[in-house]
């Protein structure tokens, strides 16, 4: 018998706030939007901020609250990176949708203002051409259509679009807010989470609530209802502290072959090197026994290695290179090579 797909939604969806006022920690945004709901008037909007801070949630919530379930389908167009959003779609689909005029009038307690909403999720992955094609469309149909752009990096939105919108920055969630949401979910799902695990979860999620909830759900699936901080680390893909320390110790020993061996075993254990680099960065920046100059040298190399990894360079060679440069920094060898 094939296993059936139960109604078990991801918790991220299950606990997504349905109303704007439930969105955690984004007070200014919530204030402006509540005002919008009362007056039923709103500008074009641009939401930006790190992942997992509630941008999509807010946009969907306000659309639902404005139109209600009945009109939602005809009034809101939601496009994200998985739909084709090349210049063709902007010229045809978006324009067609934007051009249609709609009437107003309250229905069943929803404001139903006389315009439609187009939500462009993950707008930073749209090409520049497609964004340019939107400029005029936005202005021409501004009477009947509002655009919501959602993105992580505002620098990837072209200036003409950004200047047409009211911008809202979403802050990373603070630890208290995060813990209170997590504890709420734990209560609902009947999970047992001790305070140590809670703080671990806070530190590995780094202000990203979606990530925290996903880890929590994965851990709950694998280890049952009582979750320790070790379980959370194992599902999150964070590299255990000992491994990072062993790597640093090998670099400090000034023995190249030892470092080479350490790098080899990190690769063989399958730890992702990008994760390794970011954890190394944290350890090095906060270390007390490393001089500022050494820190600067190591961090510079970490940045370069990260860029190379993004370009698709080999993990082993990059990590080995980082190890070698770290070693040279620790023993205060000159930065330039001798025999170049």
């Amino acid at each position: 018998m094939a296993p059936m797909a139960l109604s078990s939604q991801p918790w991220v969806e299950k606990y997504r706030p349905k109303q704007v006022k439930d969105v955690a920690h984004q007070d200014e945004v919530v204030r402006v939007l509540t005002n919008t709901l009362e007056t039923a008037n709103c500008p074009h909007m641009l939401f930006y901020g790190p992942p997992g801070t509630g941008k999509t949630t807010t946009a969907l919530a306000i659309a639902h609250q404005l139109f209600g379930p009945e009109l939602y389908k005809s009034r809101v167009l939601e496009l994200n990176a998985s739909d084709d959003r090349g210049i063709n779609v902007v010229r045809t689909k978006i324009k067609d949708f934007a051009a249609v005029a709609v009437g107003s009038g309250q229905r069943q307690g929803y404001p139903c203002p006389p315009y439609k909403i187009i939500i462009l999720d993950e707008a930073d992955s749209m090409t520049e051409d497609a964004q340019n094609a939107l400029r005029r469309t936005m202005e021409t149909y501004s009477k009947v259509t509002r655009f919501f752009f959602i993105c992580n990096y505002i620098s990837r939105i072209i200036e003409p679009l950004a200047s047409r919108c009211a911008k809202f920055r979403f802050k990373p969630l603070s630890d208290e807010i995060m813990s209170s949401r997590i504890l709420h979910i734990c209560r609902e799902e009947g999970l047992d989470l001790d305070s140590e695990a809670l703080s671990t979860l806070g530190s590995i999620a780094q202000g990203d609530l979606r990530r925290a909830i996903t880890y929590l759900q994965s851990a709950a699936r694998l280890f049952g209802s009582s979750i320790s901080s070790k379980d959370l680390i194992s599902v999150s893909g964070v590299i255990p502290e000992e491994v990072v320390q062993a790597f640093l110790a090998a670099c400090k020993s000034n023995d190249f072959d030892l470092a080479d061996k350490e790098v080899g075993s990190i690769i063989a254990d399958g730890y992702p090197v990008s994760q390794m680099l970011s954890q190394l960065l944290e350890v090095i920046v906060s270390a007390n026994d490393i001089s500022d100059e050494q820190k600067a040298r190591i961090c510079k190399r970490l940045g370069e290695a990260d860029k190379c990894l993004v370009d698709g360079a080999d993990e082993y060679l990059q990590l080995l290179n980082v190890a070698s440069h770290t070693m040279r920094a620790f023993s205060n060898m000159p930065e330039e090579f001798q025999f170049e």
């Binding site: 992702p272 990894l309 060679l317 025999f339």
Partner: protein
């Protein structure tokens, strides 16, 4: 049948090396609520074995009856249609494909095929709607755009279709995808575990293992189980009964690379560079991936170098490997590395011995 296939564990219960992961996976399946999965780990660590065993656990023996198909796809992309041909391996319950085969058009494959597949939901015996599993290999080779388009697709069609992703390095998989999957790290087996597996095979084949022989194979295999079993079988063919100090022949291309390394160490001149070029071409023609050549070459060179040169050489190896990834033709960059090495080594010799 090769021993590698013959002794591949078919069910989650029979897995020797990663029994902890196997038990966890079993728990996942038994709860009838399987998230998307991302397996990552170095080659030869058992990712595929785990996945196949997992599929069998989910769907029963039906998952093993696979057929190989070469399917043409016609994708309508606005003004033009794109025609693609892709090899898929499918059973009634799952489809396995390698989307990076489609090259720069992989984005269309990911968007269209998954949407297409998710529309047709299989029915199980009770008439309830089940789900299919889509197994994507080498997700780390997917382009950025394709990975971006995967992320929403994964959420949208999660009711009818589960994704199992498989890759070597999770660094190259975007954060967005990683955070939507349950990540399973499959580490390479340790030497002890490899020895255990080799002893298990020897027992099944009723072979006599001299003490220490399995350990030697394990230490030569670079923690790659597949390679250990293959070289074990090679040894069996070469000489049986085993003797304790029987030579375990290294792979011929590795031998060739170490020859190149000693060539480079012996003489540094344009003439020698030309000779090395011929040998490098020989390797590339035989389909040894260029980054593996470079890595092996580096490790051979490092064995022979002094401490202060090691830093320099490994810096340049990383530099040229990165360049190679950005560029088109691998030979330029490997050769540039060799030339760089020669110049460094020569000036080192001059500085030391005058």
């Amino acid at each position: 049948m090769l021993w590698v296939d013959k002794y591949r564990p078919r069910t989650l219960d029979k897995i020797i090396v990663h029994d902890e992961i196997a038990q966890n996976l079993k728990k996942l399946v038994s709860e009838q609520d399987c998230p998307h999965l991302l397996f990552y780990g170095p080659p030869g660590s058992g990712k595929k074995t785990l996945i196949m065993a997992l599929l069998k656990q989910m769907f029963g023996p039906g998952a093993e009856k696979v057929k190989l198909e070469n399917k043409p796809w016609k994708i309508d992309a606005g003004s033009r249609t794109i025609e693609l041909e892709l090899t898929t391996l499918s059973s009634t319950h799952h489809i396995e494909l390698n989307p990076s085969d489609a090259g720069f058009q992989d984005r269309y494959i990911v968007q269209e095929i998954i949407k297409d597949m998710a529309k047709i939901r299989p029915l199980d015996a009770k008439g309830k709607k089940g789900f299919k599993v889509l197994l994507l290999n080498q997700v780390d080779k997917l382009s950025r755009e394709a990975q971006h388009s995967l992320r929403r697709t994964m959420e949208k069609y999660s009711a009818s279709c589960r994704l199992i992703l498989c890759c070597n390095s999770s660094s190259r998989v975007t954060e967005a995808i990683r955070s939507r999957c349950l990540n399973v790290r499959v580490n390479a087996p340790t030497h002890e575990q490899i020895v255990k597996v080799l002893e298990f095979i020897a027992k099944k084949e009723s072979l006599q293992l001299p003490p220490g022989f399995a350990a030697r194979i394990a230490s030569q295999s670079n923690r790659n189980l597949r390679r250990a079993i293959l070289s074990f079988e090679t040894c069996r063919v070469q000489q049986y009964p085993f003797t304790a100090n029987q030579a375990i022949s290294p792979l011929d291309w590795e031998q060739y690379v170490s020859e190149i390394a000693s060539d480079i160490m012996k003489e540094q001149s344009p003439k020698r560079l030309f000779l090395v070029r011929g040998k490098l071409y020989e390797l590339l023609v035989n389909c040894i991936p260029p980054e593996i050549i470079l890595k092996k070459l580096l490790s051979e060179l490092l064995k022979k170098l002094d401490f202060e040169l090691k830093h320099e050489v490994c810096h340049w190896a990383a530099y040229y490997e990165h360049k190679m990834r950005m560029g088109q033709k691998a030979i330029f960059h490997i050769e540039a590395f060799v030339a760089k090495f020669m110049s460094i080594y020569k000036s080192f010799l001059i500085a030391t011995f005058g």
